[in-house]
Every structure is written in C-alpha cells, then in structure tokens.
C-alpha cells in the first residue's frame, strides 16, 4: 500500500465510522444513549484529519522519503503546539 492509499483508507474509515455513529445518535436522540453515541462519532470525525497526517508520516518513513518525513513531523508539532496554545488561552 502506498502513502496515498494508506492516507485515503485511514481518512475513509475514521470518517465512515464517525458519520455512522453520528447518524445513529441522531436517530436515537430521544434516548439517553443517543448523545453518547453522537459524542463517540464526533470524536472519531474530528480526529480523522490528524490521523490522516500521522498515517502519511508513518508511510513516508517506510518509504524513507526523508524530506517529506521532516515536513510531516514539523506539521504535527505545529498542530499540537497550536492546540496547546489555544486551550491555554
């Protein structure tokens, strides 16, 4: 599996499971467990782009594509720093 396929697959499955859970949560929103299902779906959905970046980084490492590995590591660091700064603020 190349980098593009791996990234695409990780994005697709995180998203599909997230959307399925959110849809189920909407259907069962009258019940107590509806909200919990929606939260689970939301966490998966929100995390999917970041999971995609991590999977890309891992695959680039496997391909020994040093330049782009460095780029993806810097991006991961910037994203984490951004989140920490925003949460603190």
């Amino acid at each position: 599996m190349n980098t593009n396929n791996a990234t695409s697959t990780s994005l697709k499955y995180c998203l599909l499971v997230g959307i399925a859970l959110m849809s189920a949560g909407l259907i069962f929103s009258e019940y107590d467990f509806g909200d919990r299902i929606m939260w689970a779906g939301l966490i998966l959905l929100l995390g999917s782009p970041f999971v995609g970046v991590i999977v890309t980084c891992v695959h680039l490492m496997k391909e020994k594509d040093r330049k782009w590995v460095n780029v993806s590591i810097v991006l991961i660091a910037v994203i984490i720093a951004g989140i920490i700064l925003s949460v603190i603020r």
């Binding site: 994005l11 697709k12 909407l26 995609g52 780029v71 910037v78 994203i79 720093a81 949460v87």
Partner: protein
C-alpha cells in the same frame, strides 16, 4: 424538521466546498446565525465540524486517485497553521472591519485574476526538481505532469492566508486555491483537491478547542456533518464531469459572491 433542514444545509455546503476546495464556512456561518438563530461562536463550532466532514470525505477520494497533492498540502499547511495562530493573536488588537475589508479585496483581486489570466501550468517539468508531480485527470483519464513553482513565496502567502482566515473566521480555501493555481502553477483541479485535504487539518485544530471548552451543539453538529458528508460525495461525482477552465470561471463567480457577503457583513446587513 430542524434536523432535516440542517442536513440539507450541510449537503449544500458540502457539495460547494468539495467542488471548489473551500470549507463551506462562508455559507454555513451566515445560514446558521440568520436562519437557525445560533450565536456566532456556536455557528463557527458547528461549521468547523461540517468542514471536517466535507473536506475529509472529499480528501479520502481525491487522495486515493492522486488528485490531492498530499506532500504539497503538508508543506503549505505548516505555514497556514502558523498563520492561523498568529491571526488568533492579531485579532485581539485589530478592528474586525479592517480584516473583512482586506479579505474582501483579496477575494476580488483573486477572482479578477482568475478570469483575466489564462491557467499557466509547467507541463514539461525539470525532473531533477523534487517539486515535480503528476495526476490523472478524472475527466479524460490522462496522466498529466506539473511542476510547483514559487514555493517560498507560496509558503509566505499561506501564512497570510492563515492569518486572514483565522481573523475573518472563514476557511482559507478561498485564498489557497487561487494562490496555488495562479502563483504556484498548480492545475485548478489539483489545487481544489489539495485545498480540500488541507482544510480538514486546519479545521481540526479549531474544532478541538471548541470540543475541549464544550462549545459544541451536538445535535446541530451531527446533522450538519451528515449532510456535509453526503454533499462531499456529490461534489466529487460532479468534479468528474467538469473541465478545469469552466471550474476557474465558476470559482471566480463564487469568490465574487463571497466578497459581496463579506461587504454586507461589514455593513452590518448580514
């Protein structure tokens, strides 16, 4: 009934966003605040979830068929994210109307440039460069090569796009797509697809903050996300039948409409 209406709004924003590589926030935020009566910060939070659903749905398809340039997206996203952080800090010290005015003018300039200038693609790239890429056009299934130029300038411009989008509270796709196409010579379809991939990463950082602080309306966000996801599927299907040149024209029209919305917002009408 409200849930069905929200799904429809998500569907519209998802289709438009996927087709043109913009987030759809510029559509979602006014609709959520005006029609559904949400507070601005609630609308932004719900819109970010919708953007993630639409852009990730589109990106999973575009990345698989090699239309999104993942490497270029990762690179440009670094400075976009840094710009977004800077923008969040600047926003505290600058008047909102000044930000919106600059943003509106940039959009008009981009739209006019895309209408006037012909698409310039380096089709016979220098193979030594590590910025040479190829993609398969999903209309005629031919593999086309291109070389990304002006990378340093593009990175700087993406910082400005990040600052602007963070300050104006909209996605950076409206700036990044013309930037990649006009300045960096990335083909229009690749620019839109790469922007879709980047959009999810940008929105993720913003959405996490709302998630942590508990500012998300769960049922609204879920309904918009479901609609935006379906819209992203429709958008990717539509992009198969569209040529690059008309897409540039449609995108320019979209930019002009968005700039009008921005000026209306500036005038307090929206």
């Amino acid at each position: 009934m409200v849930i069905l209406a929200l799904i429809s709004v998500g569907l519209l924003a998802g289709t438009m966003g996927t087709l043109f590589g913009v987030g759809g926030g510029i559509l979602l935020i006014p609709i959520l605040t005006i029609v559904f009566g949400l507070q601005a910060n609630e609308a932004v939070a719900v819109s970010l979830v919708g953007i993630i659903a639409a852009s990730t749905g589109a990106a999973s398809h575009y990345v698989r068929i090699n239309l999104s340039n993942v490497r270029l997206g990762l690179l440009l996203e670094i400075t976009t994210s840094i710009g977004a952080m800077m923008g969040a800090a600047f926003a505290m010290y600058m008047e909102n109307w000044i930000i919106l005015l600059i943003f509106g003018l940039v959009l008009i300039y981009s739209a006019v440039s895309m209408i006037i200038r012909k698409e310039k693609i380096i089709e016979q790239p220098d193979d030594v460069s590590d910025m040479c890429f190829s993609y398969t056009d999903n209309k005629d299934y031919k593999t086309k090569r291109y070389e990304v130029r002006n990378v340093k300038g593009g990175l700087l411009a993406c910082t400005a796009a990040g600052i602007m989008s963070s300050m104006a509270g909209v996605g950076g796709g409206t700036i990044k797509v013309p930037l990649m196409n006009i300045y960096m010579h990335v083909p229009m379809k690749v620019a839109s697809a790469t922007s879709s991939y980047m959009m999810g990463i940008t929105a993720f950082s913003g959405a996490v903050v709302y998630f942590v602080h508990g500012g998300l309306l769960l049922d609204y966000a879920s309904a918009i996300a479901v609609g935006a996801f379906i819209g992203s599927i429709a958008g990717t299907r539509l992009s198969r039948v569209l040529n690059s040149e008309p897409m540039r024209k449609y995108f320019s029209i979209l930019l002009l409409i968005i700039s009008v919305i921005i000026f209306l917002r500036m005038g307090g009408i929206l």
